[in-house]
């Protein structure tokens, strides 16, 4: 295994009863890059994310992160290891304000004990203050700092995606999984997000995204894997994938059916 | 004496099953734990008693009246409380808490109207016969109770399995959204289910009231707990499970009371229930019921 690979997925399979959702899926996400996973609806893309983040356990194969296996780890432990994600159908905490949402993401990095908390010790106050400042900084990255004390439920759809993004970053991930990050965004929002994802990569994070918007994926990703009926049918640079006959068939065939 | 105990167990078990059937059907169709079901049971027995003693109605008329009365209570609860909660998409614990309130109101009303003391049916209206089968004393009353309980359950089973109404109800239990898209009048059937299940609860109240000939405002509470035990044994929302679970509880209770202390009988039942929930929340006899959104 090369040390440059942040995430290695090898021969992963997943079935629910007799239904095989994923079969023999293998690919590597290199560090410091943006990786894309595309494929028709129902191909099993979100299942891949659920397996990586520990919400599901693979039926076969191995998943390694920074050289150590993720299999059998619980979701919160995987987050501690440095993987964060957003959801296709946004899952922010609607009854909290934006600042609290982001601060939830810092949970593991606030290291005060119960006694310090009860006595309201200096260390505890300082830690909370730092967390609040950091949360504001993350909110300003996504352009939401002026709404920090708004209830998350009152945000527009696009803003909710941005908040989820900031909240994921708050866990201090090494790898960020984005499930359809631009769904429901307008072109100018997409351009801004594209820049932000590039910035994040340049800060040293790895980014792994599922996306339907081909222009977005092709313009942003360093490498792309294509999933169809639970199998990887192509993997490579955007150009290689674009010209792969199997990919063209999968997509055109899909359009016939649609 | 075992045969005598078995007869008692069958009588109790059949009424438990009848009670639990309504309870489980509400959960299956409306996805609500109706904690007022015990109070509705109590309302049924008071309704029958009132008709017998104030209107001099014959027992079978009083039974029908009790079903109608408690059915209307169930219908009102659905229309006035559960429907607005559904419309608001309230969290699933809201209806459960509201039905606790309904239970308190019904119990308190009964206490205010009829007093807290134990009331009894006049002896002369009870079916009087008693005969010996082998060395078992069989009361005509017990035969009647078992017969009525099984008859009603049979009607319900056939309705659910064989009729268009039953198919529609099962479709709703599977997914209300899909049922709605298939053109099923989901709201209407929620009302029907509420009425029917409450009517079954009410008649169960009459049968228990007759069996022990004792009616109190608090009688619904232990019955509710037994209903909960039964549907957890049988699997929540599982019709067949409620039948088997009800009979099982009847036997377990009678046998443990006969061979252990009467109080510890309850503890055994609830301890068992508690263990089942920990080990197999989907029930001992039931299949896992999970509704898709």
């Amino acid at each position: 295994m090369s040390a440059a690979n942040l995430l290695s997925i090898r021969h992963v399979g997943k079935h629910f009863g007799g239904l095989h959702v994923l079969q023999d899926v293998s690919f590597e996400v290199p560090a410091g890059s943006i990786y894309g996973l595309i494929g028709p609806n129902g191909a099993g893309k979100t299942t891949v994310f659920n397996l990586i983040t520990g919400l599901l356990t693979p039926s076969a194969g191995s998943i390694d992160f920074q050289g150590a296996s993720l299999i059998g780890q619980q979701a919160h432990q995987i987050t501690h290891r440095g993987i964060a994600r957003t959801f296709q159908n946004i899952r922010i905490f609607k009854e909290m304000d934006l600042l609290e949402n982001v601060m939830v993401g810092m949970h593991e990095h606030l290291n005060y004990g119960p006694l310090a908390l009860l006595l309201n010790s200096g260390a505890c106050r300082a830690a909370e203050k730092r967390a609040r400042e950091r949360a504001l900084e993350l909110l300003s990255w996504v352009g939401l700092d002026h709404k920090a004390d708004m209830l998350a439920d009152n945000l527009s759809y696009g803003d909710q995606r941005k908040l989820e993004f900031a909240r994921a970053l708050a866990t201090e991930p090494k790898l960020l999984l984005l499930d359809e990050p631009v769904a429901g965004m307008n072109p100018s929002e997409k351009t801004i997000l594209m820049e932000e994802i590039n910035n994040i990569r340049n800060r040293g994070y790895g980014v792994f995204m599922i996306e339907h918007d081909m222009r977005f994926v092709m313009g942003l990703c360093d490498r792309i894997a294509v999933l169809n009926f639970g199998r990887i049918i192509a993997e490579g640079t955007p150009d290689e994938v674009r010209n792969n006959p199997e990919v063209i068939e999968a997509y055109l065939g899909k359009e016939d059916a649609a | 004496m075992l045969e005598q105990q078995l007869l008692n167990a069958l009588t109790l078990g059949s009424v438990y099953a009848l009670f639990a059937l309504g309870f489980t059907l509400v959960f299956g169709v409306l996805a609500v734990i109706n904690l007022a079901h015990g109070a509705v049971f109590m309302v049924g027995s008071y309704a029958a008693l009132a008709m017998v003693s104030h209107l001099n109605a014959p027992l079978w008329v009083a039974m029908l009246g009790a079903m109608l009365g408690s059915g209307i209570v169930g219908l009102l609860v659905d229309v006035l409380i559960l429907k607005p909660l559904r419309a608001r998409n309230a969290p699933h614990l809201a209806p459960m808490i509201a039905t606790i309130g309904v239970g308190i109101m019904l119990t308190s009303s009964a206490q205010g109207l009829f007093g807290a003391e134990v009331l009894r049916f006049p002896e002369d209206i009870l079916p009087a016969g008693e005969f010996l089968v082998g060395d078992v004393h069989v009361r005509a009353l017990e035969i009647a109770i078992v017969a009525i309980a099984f008859l009603l359950m049979a009607v319900l089973f056939v309705t659910l399995k064989r009729t268009q109404l039953g198919r529609a109800l099962r479709a709703i239990a599977e997914s209300p959204k899909a049922a709605y898209l298939l053109g099923i009048n989901v709201e209407g059937l929620f009302h029907v289910t509420s009425f029917v299940t409450a009517a079954l609860g009410g008649i169960a109240g009459v049968l228990i009231g007759l069996n022990f000939n004792a009616i109190t405002p608090q009688m619904g509470q232990p019955m509710l707990h037994k209903g909960i035990a039964v549907i957890i044994l049988g699997g929540m929302g599982d019709i067949r499970g409620a039948l088997i679970g009800g009979l099982f509880l009847g036997f377990a209770e009678v046998i443990s009371k006969a061979y252990l202390s009467s109080q510890m009988g309850d503890a055994v039942a609830f301890g068992l229930l508690f263990l089942i929930l920990l080990v197999r929340p989907s029930g001992l006899f039931g299949r896992k019921l999970e509704r898709k959104a």
Binding site: T79, F93 | I81, A94, S108, I228
Partner: protein, 287 residues
């Protein structure tokens, strides 16, 4: 001062009860704030009350030690049953905790040492007003600290979306167990205090109805703040006194309150955001 003495001799028990109910309401607030509907709090209160009363009567422990034991014992029970029970969610959890409560009640009913159905008589009247005030104050302060910390945020996150909370790195199982155990601790403390000013305890006081009463306090007051449950507890303690003239119909009002609150005030009567919105002010610094 004479009017005060008169008032106190008539109403001291009532005032004590308000304090104990406020504690109970806070104990269920803890589990509710984590999204858990547990109906075990009355049973935890009973365990605390019996343990405390027996230690006072039989072993003549000092009061602080008795209170501590009355709080720690139910907390240990909660810790023990919590791991398996808290795997259940929603109505299954409610049913399991209800069944647990019945097991506790029936056990107390059948033990020799607890006095069975007759209960325990002649518990010394040790609890004084300042005991309750002090314990309530410490509880409120601690919970207020907790609420504004990473623990409170974790509870809230779990309540809103368990999966999202897990993916924020929160050990959901551990925090649920914490809420459940702390709730049992406070309920036990309330039970221990209560036993030492009522003279008499019996298994009847710790059954399903009492679990529902505790839940009603929190639902009525609202669980978005700490004030809500205490307000609910106070109202529901005083209401029956005000409604004495209704006799047997008294609890009718309790039932109606529960229904009306669920229908029309889903977040309880004390909900700062709505109250502020009503007075047309923006959300300012949240206290």
């Amino acid at each position: 001062m004479e009017w005060f003495n008169d008032f106190w001799s008539t109403y001291s028990t009532l005032v004590f009860t308000v304090g104990v109910h406020a504690l109970l309401a806070l104990s269920i607030w803890l589990t509710l704030s984590c999204g858990l509907l547990s109906l075990a709090n009355a049973a935890f209160m009973g365990v605390g009350a019996y343990v405390a009363a027996l230690l006072t009567v039989n072993l003549e422990w000092s009061f602080p030690a008795v209170l501590l034991a009355g709080a720690v014992t139910p907390a240990l029970v909660a810790l023990l049953i919590g791991a398996p029970v808290l795997r259940l969610s929603g109505v299954y959890l409610a049913m399991a905790t209800l069944a647990f409560g019945e097991v506790v009640r029936i056990t107390i009913l059948n033990l020799e040492i607890t006095g069975g159905p007759e209960g325990l008589n002649g518990i010394p009247l040790i609890t004084e007003g300042w005991h309750i005030v002090l314990i309530l104050a410490v509880t409120i302060y601690s919970l207020a600290r907790l609420r504004r910390s990473k623990i409170g945020r974790a509870f809230e996150a779990i309540k809103e979306d368990e999966i999202a909370a897990r993916l924020m790195g929160i050990n959901v199982d551990r925090y649920k167990l914490l809420a459940f155990t702390l709730g049992a601790f406070i309920a036990g403390l309330a039970g221990a205090l209560n036993a030492h000013f009522t003279f008499f305890i019996s298994p009847r006081e710790y059954g399903f109805e009492n679990a529902v009463d505790i839940l009603t306090m929190a639902v009525l007051g609202g669980t978005t703040t700490l004030i809500g449950p205490m307000l609910g507890g106070t109202i529901l303690t005083l209401l029956p006194e005000l409604l004495r003239s209704l006799h047997d119909f008294r609890s009718l009002v309790n039932g109606a309150v529960l229904i009306l609150v669920v229908l029309f005030l889903p977040k309880g009567i004390w909900e700062p955001r709505r109250i502020r919105a009503f007075f047309g002010r923006n959300k300012g610094d949240q206290a």
